[in-house]
């Protein structure tokens, strides 16, 4: 079965940036990337690439297209899905789409997907680690009128459609839909594979397709914000830690227990 899979992947500030290096510019209301820490492909989007690769391995004939919308792309970063084994990369790269809200992003991705034209399965990450919205894939599905299944920890494609194990907080649901469909992937699917040396070589020879906003047919109106960001700040904790120090580690453990009893916590 010939299968066209589109994976939506976003470039984000590295979420493992230590809290001590996390900075905000209050005037522009933007996060200032920490020095020397390059951006990454959103972690759950790598899980989505992994899911696509597994589906491709299980079917005879699948093509994986990675799609991203934004500006200021770092090519080495965005090529990682290619080095993992994806077939092609399409970037909608334009200052006009550099700072959209979830509504604008979903619109831009949906228009780009229409332009790509052929798609059976659209895979996304369960949420982007910058704004933690978990909304864009739902928007893509609504705009394109497709079924949508979120938080897949397992996904299988067959002739009658897609079957997903949707992770719940205690277990999972089995959800089915016909293709084309939008599915979001969670880390429970398993670790994304590491690029092989051969994968990296192949990726380095591939040139991404780059579209600007007008080539995708996006108008200014379509991209206007529905939400206004009025403040962005780092929360301060007013908790003061009382360190319990005994003569040695074991003594500290003993004193900790006594302290908790004294505080009536145990």
């Amino acid at each position: 079965m010939a299968l066209n899979i589109i994976v939506c992947a976003k470039q984000v500030v590295d979420p493992e940036t230590p809290a001590s290096a996390f900075r905000i510019d209050p005037d522009t209301k933007q996060v200032v990337p920490a020095q020397g820490i390059p951006p990454v492909v959103n972690g759950f989007d790598e899980n989505a690439v992994e899911a696509a690769l597994q589906i491709k391995e299980a079917s005879s004939d699948a093509t994986i297209t990675v799609l991203s919308v934004g500006s200021g792309f770092v090519m080495d970063v965005m090529k990682k899905p290619l080095s993992m084994g994806a077939d092609q990369l399409i970037l909608v790269d334009d200052p006009a789409v550099g700072n959209l809200d979830a509504f604008g992003t979903a619109t831009a991705l949906a228009e780009a997907i229409r332009k790509i034209g052929e798609y059976d399965l659209i895979l996304c990450g369960r949420q982007a680690s910058d704004w933690d919205n978990a909304m864009v894939p739902l928007g893509i599905a609504e705009i394109l009128g497709l079924p949508c299944i979120t938080i897949a920890q397992k996904i299988e494609v067959s002739d009658d459609g897609v079957t997903v194990h949707k992770a719940l907080s205690d277990g999972y649901e089995v959800v089915k839909a016909e293709l084309p469909a939008v599915v979001t992937i969670t880390n429970e699917l398993g670790e994304p594979r590491y690029p092989t040396l051969r994968g990296i070589m192949t990726a380095s020879r591939k040139t991404p397709t780059v579209w600007d906003a007008s080539e995708v047919g996006l108008s200014h109106d379509q991209l206007s914000h529905k939400l206004d960001l009025t403040e962005l700040y780092i929360p301060v904790s007013d908790t003061e830690c009382e360190f319990i120090e005994g003569e040695d580690d074991a003594d500290s453990g003993r004193l900790l227990a006594l302290k908790l009893r004294e505080a009536r916590l145990i």
């Binding site: 996390f22 979830a102 999972y172 939400l227 206004d228 009025t230 360190f243 009893r261």
Partner: protein, 330 residues
Amino acid sequence: MAGILILGEIEGDALGSITGELATVGQALAATSGDEVAVALLGGTPDSFAGDAIAAGADKVYTVADPLLADGQIDAYLSAFEQAVQQTSPSVVLIGKTELGRDLGPRLAFRMGVGVAQDCVELSVDESTGRVSALRPVYGGNAMAKVTFQGDGIQIAVVRPKTTEAPEPDTSRTGETQALSVELESSVIKARRVDTVTQASEGVRLEDATIVVSGGRGLGGEEPFETLAGLASMLGGAMGASRAACDAGWLDHSYQVGLTGKTITPDLYITVAISGASQHMAGCSGAKHVVAINRDQDANIFKSCSYGVVGDWNKVLPAFIETVSELINS
């Protein structure tokens, strides 16, 4: 404003606690405007829960009954709730960030072409514009964003559970119940849940526990978690873990505490060998007291702790457990 509409949730044979929480949030928003706070109850036979919704803080209840709503298929709920919103034209829609709501809220907004704020922990009304302003954690909890809704369309807020306490039911409250009729066809269900597999958790549920003991990557393997589980049960609490520990395969993901795991609100949260990444802390910001055992004195976890021990858990933990056991048994 022209009214607040809440998506009520029915869990099994009771009104979900989120409904009371949202009623509290709604009543606070309506405090200055005097707006009506209505709850929409969708289901096969939702009428029997109308009284509970009023006792939980609703001024009015809309019921939407349809056989297609009996087994909670999200596509059917979405279609029915969209019609309820259109028929009642509220200015604010409140939805819980539950299994259902976190998808339904944004999908409703995209469908209606209006704004939506996901995962709100605080809502207020801007005095000058009368528009809602929402506070939400972003960047894994590293930052807080305040957003307002543009224009004058319906404002949809998806509210994080447990950010307010559901009030004690007040059965002396009165309110009107009105049935809405909607058109629903089975063809709206495009993604269909065909089975649910749940693991019954043993002992106290992590989300409900007043004491939680969690372990992280620094525990190095499965075995130390057996010790932690013993400590948790001795304290009458539950065990949790960091994502790193779950990803390593030491524990099932149902133990995960954090942004993409469970939200816990214990009185006492004891962490062992957890660094305290913002995405972990996002799940336990409601804990009254955090305690950490970690060998790195600069670990982020200590910033949120009431009490901490800088040391090797291999040595700290056995002495801690032994003393706890003595204290409890004496």
